[in-house]
Symmetry: C2
Subunit: 333 residues, 2 copies
DNA sequence: GTTATTTACGCACACGTGTGCAAAACAATG
DNA sequence: CATTGTTTTGCACACGTGTGCGTAAATAAC
């Protein structure tokens, strides 16, 4: 009742295991009839190759690791979902790791990946990660890396990113065109390159439209409903209230909007809202809602492509940065 | 520049690799001084054990597989997220598999899991899966299984489930108490036990409240926005319109509501809405919204507990079904 | 019928780790 | 010093698979 191995097959067929191995790999140096016998027997016994044995012989793993801050967030779960599907179609399996925005956790994850000898890694780093040298360890073990979303240039790895600065500039323009001028922005930690870029785009946009309301960025160390509530509460204490809000995360948006709805009813009626996160449900909420949609599908495809070609061709070691444009969707489903 | 192995260490320290192995495992039969030397050297060289070699020796894998229809859906991504986190804390890694509601895919996944020799499997099967015998293959390889959410009794495995019938009965009661009587239900394929149970609860609830509007279940083979639009379109062709809607999925709800908003504006103003899926954002939408929240956290904990104890104690082979109550949340965040 | 060539298979080792057993080194006892 | 006991280390094999090399048998060439 235990696993059937090529040795078992060999023994039962009066062959050597090396012959069985060759037969199963359709080697030309095994007699057609013998091959037939082996394959039929293997099939009848439900033989499944033991991948672990292959790994030991130096064959690369077919498991790739994906490290994300978490998979609650729509963007990440969509991304992971697509990577997982495409990877499976290419014969790869995806192991998921969540840094939970913690650097310590991230370091542990990297060690774990080395121990498992994974084939490669796609990752978006945590909010806490300002220094990325722990990822260099992977180089030593020749485990290729592709970054996405939150990247750090100094790591010098292939990456798939959004054109963040331009995106935020466009969102501000769009809100301005809709008649809003006092635009606040609930963003992420500015230690992260990604958010710095967006914040720059935001400020640039405000300058461009000559906003009376000067730049008002509230920074969130984590993207939770609670954080959204806290930040908006603070923001609403100022005398001058914004007339539009931009959110870096769906959860920040929900937190903020639910807070306003409960504590300042009516004030959201004419509020302009733009949010990353891509859950179409927000646009059910209000007419004047903008969804900032990242092209997860294309990004996931691109990231996997980069990784698989790095796996196939470890020598190449080329660095490629692919930039995508966010789609700014004007309240339709 | 290649991986440091115990043999390398042994060679450099003039020891045999078996001594090094013992030293690293803190065996009492190795000299304290030698052990010290080995451990220091290993640390200085950044030695990381090669798990694949362990696997070959029969040590169980530390990778568990989680098979879900997909991870777009909030319930599944939350569940997977929690399982992944808890598993990592217990030294396990999670590999994700998406059946995409396809039986063929599911069978391929099972084979892949066998090839990888995973430690165990937690799964919720696809909509297409009426017959579950392909999972029995895992028994042969002594890979333990825990089912959750969508389960099939005939498989006779430990499972973590919702009290579906009672839940739907309660939802109907609740809507009735809120003054609704013409309650329609957009549900999933009735070939799945889970949805049959819910549908029975729904019908039972309607009888209980003496609903004038007879049972009206629209079945979705997949939970997508598009399906929600299609089903509601069909439903809205009938003369008598429902005054409340129950959804088995967030995406069905968004699809349906966006359709109504666009094509029958105003009609949703007084509509009672209850939805599985747990995205709090729906309750921003309307006052009269009920969120049917499954206790993902507890369910994930329970499922992982069951699996880990089955892994630790393969002989026990006991079957345990754990049932949870859904929380019916009345429009607050 | 002899030699050369091809075909088909077996042998042995490698991959990294762990462990039962034997051998060596050392300590203790008489 | 001889004997016994204990501690420490090394040897050899196992796990499942693939592959270079060798070789016997089968076939072809002359």
């Amino acid at each position: 009742m235990k696993r059937v191995t090529i040795k078992d097959i060999a023994h039962n067929l009066g062959l050597h295991h090396s012959t069985v191995s060759r037969a199963l790999r359709f080697s030309s140096e095994v007699n057609a009839e013998t091959r037939e016998r082996v394959i039929n027997y293997a099939q009848s016994k439900g033989y499944q190759i033991n991948r672990n044995a292959l790994l030991l012989r130096g064959v690369r793993s077919n498991i790739i690791g994906v490290i994300v801050p978490n998979i609650h967030h729509n963007f990440f779960s969509n991304f992971v979902s697509i990577v997982t599907r495409l990877a499976f179609e290419s014969g790869f399996i995806v192991a998921i790791f969540q840094s939970e925005e913690s650097l310590v956790q991230e370091i542990e994850i990297v060690n774990s990946i080395i121990q498992q000898n994974l084939a490669g890694v796609i990752f978006s780093h945590s909010m806490e990660t300002e220094e990325v040298s722990h990822f260099n360890k992977l180089d030593q073990y020749k485990i290729p890396i592709v970054c996405f979303d939150r990247v750090t240039k100094s790591l010098n790895k292939s990456a798939v990113v959004l054109n963040n600065e331009a995106t935020l500039r466009n969102v501000v323009r769009k809100l301005s065109a809709m008649g809003y001028s006092k635009i606040a922005y609930l963003s992420g930690a500015s230690s992260i390159q990604l958010f710095r870029e967006r914040q720059n785009g935001y400020i640039g946009g405000l300058e461009e439209i000559n906003a009376s309301y000067s730049n008002c960025v509230a920074l969130a160390g984590a993207f939770t409903i609670q954080k959204g509530q806290e930040l908006i509460k603070e923001l609403w204490m100022h005398d001058e209230k914004p007339d539009a809000l931009i959110f870096d995360s769906h959860f920040l948006a929900i937190g903020a909007l639910s807070y306003l709805k409960k504590n300042h009813p009516g004030c959201t009626d004419n509020l302009g809202i733009a949010s990353f996160g891509g859950d179409p449900c927000l646009s059910l909420y209000a007419e004047n809602t903008i969804i900032i949609k990242q092209p997860e599908k294309q990004m996931a495809e691109a990231a996997l492509d980069l990784l698989l070609s790095a796996i196939d061709n470890p020598a190449a070691d080329k660095v490629e940065i692919i930039e995508f444009q966010a789609e700014i969707i004007d309240n339709k489903l």
